[in-house]
Amino acid sequence: MDHPLDGTVVKKDFPLLGDLRPDGSPLVYLDSASSAQKPQSVLDAMDDLYCTSYANVHRGVYRLGVEATDRYEGARRTVARFIGAPHEREVIFTKNVTEAMNLVARTWGAANLGAGDVVVLSDMEHHANIVPWLMLAESVGIELRWIGLTDDYQLDLSNLDQLVDGAKLVSVTAMSNVLGSITDVRTIADAAHSAGALCMVDAAQWVPHLPTDVVAMDCDFLGFTGHKVLGPTGIGVLWARSEILDAMPAFLGGGEMIRDVRKDGWTVNELPWKFEAGTPPIAEAVGLAAGIEYLETLGMDRVRAHEVDLTAYALDTLTARFGDTLTIHGPSDLSARGGVLSLALDEVHPHDISQVLDQHGVCVRAGHHCAKPLMRELGVGATARASLYVYNDRSDVDALADALAATVEFFTL
């Protein structure tokens, strides 16, 4: 961590952020928790594949097919390296992290969970880590338990041993997409393992923002989604320990995932292809690898330091300017949070905040952020969420504060 990251410089690598909008207004993008913008290198990597080395993968003897396969499998190696996966065959490409969670629920879950079996979630999960389990609750009668929140918006681990007692799986987000709260994954994984349960991590908000090491986390499954980590849409990743993946039944059936097919039966291919039915997201994997390489060049430690710094600046600025009229749902402790700021003004609904901010070129998301159970816990219907990433700088935070001030003024005329 030699010198700090400069968001103003990083921004120049992102074509959408560089210029004014077509109508001449500036663009302040503060919705990276929803999806990140893409650096030019990601677009170039995909275009280069399509223009020089594109063919379907794993099926061609000819060089073009070999080149495409090499790039696709090379992307898998890049992902494995980035998250500290011991084996590249443990990296499964899915279409998004939602599919990754469903894959686990449908295959490992179907094979290992029955009526009355307990899965532990937390109150701050994204729907992607709730609905697949609610579906299993309906279909086979599993039971859900929920890790609650402390007053400072952290997971309340005071009764963790009790919660995980007798459970088969503990599945939690590593960072809340609403609160920014960072989960102590290792403590939860240890507790899960002591209780004989496995541990799954929804790392959709973690992988883009902090160094990832699945071995240090000691989790059993980890998922993340490409479009939040500077990659394209259409790709996600499931990592899991190979013993577990080997023992799991297959997920979708079709080409690529089979060893043999007869009219009366079929046998399954080896990892990782066992879980990749059909033509995979070839260009998307290549684009994701380019996004990861971009982050590696910045350095994930510096990415994290930059975001802590910018989050501190944002919290200070907003508190100084709006005091108690602005609620920020999320931990006050900077070391326990990422750059996600869920805002609520006394007088103005989040939806209206986002609308007025947009008029000032400031993009923030308003709504339940796919975390309705959490919203109910917080006692709100929606928040206006500003989220920070590598390409944001203090001028973006200032623009947010100015636009918020204009919003308050507009609505209290």
Partner: protein
């Protein structure tokens, strides 16, 4: 670029700050119907009392943005005392103003019919919401209460 004043007309903000017919009605005789916008989480709860095919009373609960809540407030004022048929016509006229047509690809013909009907109907205060059309994501905010009312009428009729 459409301006904020297109969206947030004074009368809308007035209904938002001072919602009409806010509250609940005893169930029964009233019916309670919940509606919500899956994308943003806005909720409108309609308490509806129908007597002899007429809206004899209506109350609104729930929470949400200025557009969804003011639209609900305006709706409640507009439909009180109307017959079910009149409510249906008003709903149709309102949705036409919101440019909500069938997403069917053959739907072209339906549009022109709708427009001619629209002209005959007095929208009154509801006209203030016309600017919402310029902000397509907010259309669902404006129509949420109307959809919930339609559901409430259906439920009430089904029950009786």
């Amino acid at each position: 670029m459409p301006g904020l004043e297109d969206l947030y007309r004074e009368i809308i903000l007035d209904h938002y700050r001072n919602p009409r017919n806010r509250g609940e009605l005893p169930v029964p005789p009233a019916h309670r119907t919940e509606g919500f916008n899956p994308l943003c989480g806005d909720e409108v709860v309609v308490f509806l009392e129908l007597t002899d095919g007429k809206v004899t009373d209506v109350r609104i609960a729930g929470q949400g943005c200025s557009i969804s809540q003011s639209s609900a407030s305006m709706m409640s004022s507009a439909v009180k005392g109307l017959s079910i048929e009149e409510v249906a016509r008003l709903t149709r006229a309102f949705k036409d103003m919101m440019s909500i047509h069938e997403s069917s690809l053959e739907g072209a013909d339906a549009d022109s019919e709708a427009e001619s009907e629209l002209e005959e109907i007095e929208l009154g205060d509801l006209e203030a919401l016309r600017g919402v059309v310029k902000f397509p994501v907010r259309i669902k905010c404006a129509t949420l209460s109307w959809n919930t009312l339609s559901q409430a009428i259906e439920d009430t009729l089904a029950d009786s």
